[in-house]
């Protein structure tokens, strides 16, 4: 059964067709890669799927439910988790604070009960912290819990963001260049982590990624975007040899 299905997804900014009729689907338990040269529209595609941008045409279907017009924040309780190219955390706050922010939609006490200091809110805050510690220890980040995110090395910031997204209890992860700023060895370790996350937390993943060895190793299926249109799709090793894809990355001979 497909988890995510995008049909004819298009968006236009003025005269620019940033996305043109993109069809993409992600099946249960798959890791799907989305690659393409800079400016191909990959992040724009994520923004359309999350309804940060309102698509001009087309639909987004999640587990059989048409969610094209569903507000971004209402996707989180349905299992969406998203990371950003340049770390979507509050950098002036600590890793632990960000873990609490991430668990926002799981918090059962109301906003006013929290402000009013209801006893239940204190108890639940402790539970949130405990859950955050479990995730941080899983990610090997416990000793950084009181460090401000902005003061950490970039690679650790990226991992903290993944930890935060895990705090939302996701079923479907959308990762935007998770290994940018990592060395090849670190990217390899990240691949191990991703495969482990999928197995242990039963996740389905769609990720934008440039690091070819990682894509080849972990992805079940790859889509290639170029100038807002789908150029190719297929198994990673097929894509690697696809003439049009090679041309798009290296420039065409004419």
């Amino acid at each position: 059964m497909s988890v995510l299905e995008c049909n004819d997804l298009s968006i236009q900014f003025g005269g620019l067709k940033a996305l043109d009729a993109v069809d993409l689907s992600v099946n249960e338990w798959e890791i799907v890669g989305l690659i393409g040269p800079n400016g191909a529209g990959k992040t724009t595609f994520f923004n359309c799927v999350m309804n940060v941008y309102n698509p001009t045409r087309g639909s987004v279907v999640y587990r059989g439910e048409n969610i094209t017009a569903l507000p971004t924040h209402e996707r989180v309780p349905r299992g969406f988790g998203r990371t950003f190219q340049n770390v979507g955390l509050v950098k002036s706050l600590t890793v632990m604070d960000n873990m609490l922010i991430a668990q926002h939609s799981k918090v059962r006490y109301g906003a006013m009960a929290g402000i009013g200091g209801m006893p239940g809110s204190f108890r639940e805050e402790t539970a949130l912290r405990e859950n955050a510690l479990e995730i941080l220890s899983f990610m090997g980040l416990v000793e950084h819990r009181d460090a401000r995110v902005g003061s950490l090395p970039y690679g650790l910031q990226k991992l903290s963001e993944i930890a935060a997204v895990l705090g939302t209890d996701p079923e479907f992860l959308m990762l935007d260049e998770p290994t940018s700023g990592m060395s090849p060895e670190e990217a390899h370790e990240f691949g191990d982590l991703l495969l482990k996350l999928r197995t242990e937390l039963n996740l389905t993943v769609l990720m934008i990624e440039h690091h070819v060895p990682l894509v080849v190793r972990v992805c079940d299926h790859v889509y290639v975007l170029n100038f807002g249109r789908l150029l190719a799709e297929g198994k990673p090793h097929e894509i690697q040899r696809h003439p049009e894809v090679v041309a798009a990355y290296l420039g065409e001979e004419e």
């Binding site: 507000p71 924040h73 950003f84 609490l100 922010i101 939609s105 929290g114 405990e130 090997g140 690679g155």
Partner: protein, 362 residues
Amino acid sequence: MATIEMTPVPAAAPDERSLLPLLDEGKPSARGWLARRIVQAGVIGAGLALIAVNPPVLQTDRVTKGLIFVIIGFSLHILLGYAGQISLGHQAFVGVGAFTSALLVSKGLTFWVAIFVSGATGALTALILGFVALRLKGLVLALVTFAYGQVAVNSIFAIPQLTGGGAGVDALRPAGFEGDKAWAYLVAGFLALIWLLDWRLVKSKAGRAIMTIRENEVAAASFGINVVGYKILAFVLSGAIAGIGGALFAHHTRQVAPNDFNFQLALVFVLMVVVGGLGSRPGVFVGSMFFGIFPLAVPSDFVHYGELIGALLLLLTLTMFPGGIGQQLKPFTDWIAGHPFHFSLKPQRESGISSGGAGVRP
């Protein structure tokens, strides 16, 4: 990047070793905790004693005015410090609260109900501005809040039936609190309540949501935070506290007139919060106290120096000490909060306040 450790996984088998003791790591010992509470109680006690003693410069009614400014400072701080939204029309929220309470009390309603109605009308005034702020940012928002304040002051406050025209409306203090000292303790009580609410706000989900929206709206939404709802909540909370502050303002002077709420007052509010230090309650307390008391405590010839001092302090804050007074108090406030005492004379470029920065720096 550190090595990714793949060891303990509590997900499958519920872990018998709880991680909870980690939460207590770094917390002070029982004696350290007691020492901190004693110092805290001492500071609060000294403040309350100041009201009782009524010394020459810091007379009780001046301190009370300062306390009311602190309440208004906390109100503006929710927008400026936590939500990162500027308001140059805050005097309108305060004024609406002031006239609401004065009018209701003069019609025979009890103060204890009127002050909460003031909170509601203040919240309503801010709510309307909140919807405008959903679409605007930065300088344009600043100008719109300025215009909003001016329009409110020059239209609503100009209705003689509501505000008594130029003469103003009488605002009697509640029975039992007519005297300056009793009134001062009542205002201090309101401040204590609002201080506690503000503390719980930043320690619970609403405050975290509001601060995340300040940093990155898209990221906030993808953590499940309702950006529109929490932005509006920030305005409503700010307006409600401003309304209550306004009611206290009216009953403090026992009379309130439209002229009390000019644009200059809105500027003083912004000054006292920024100089006090975004993200620091003690900083905003000291800053608001200073700007509330200064014009009353100096001879009338020197009152206009207050603006000069305010401008100089603002320059100092923006250029050298972005954390304002709160940054200077940080070694002490951190200690009170349970951290070890750490003091350094070196000015910190990075303010280190956990929730600083509101896009007010040029």
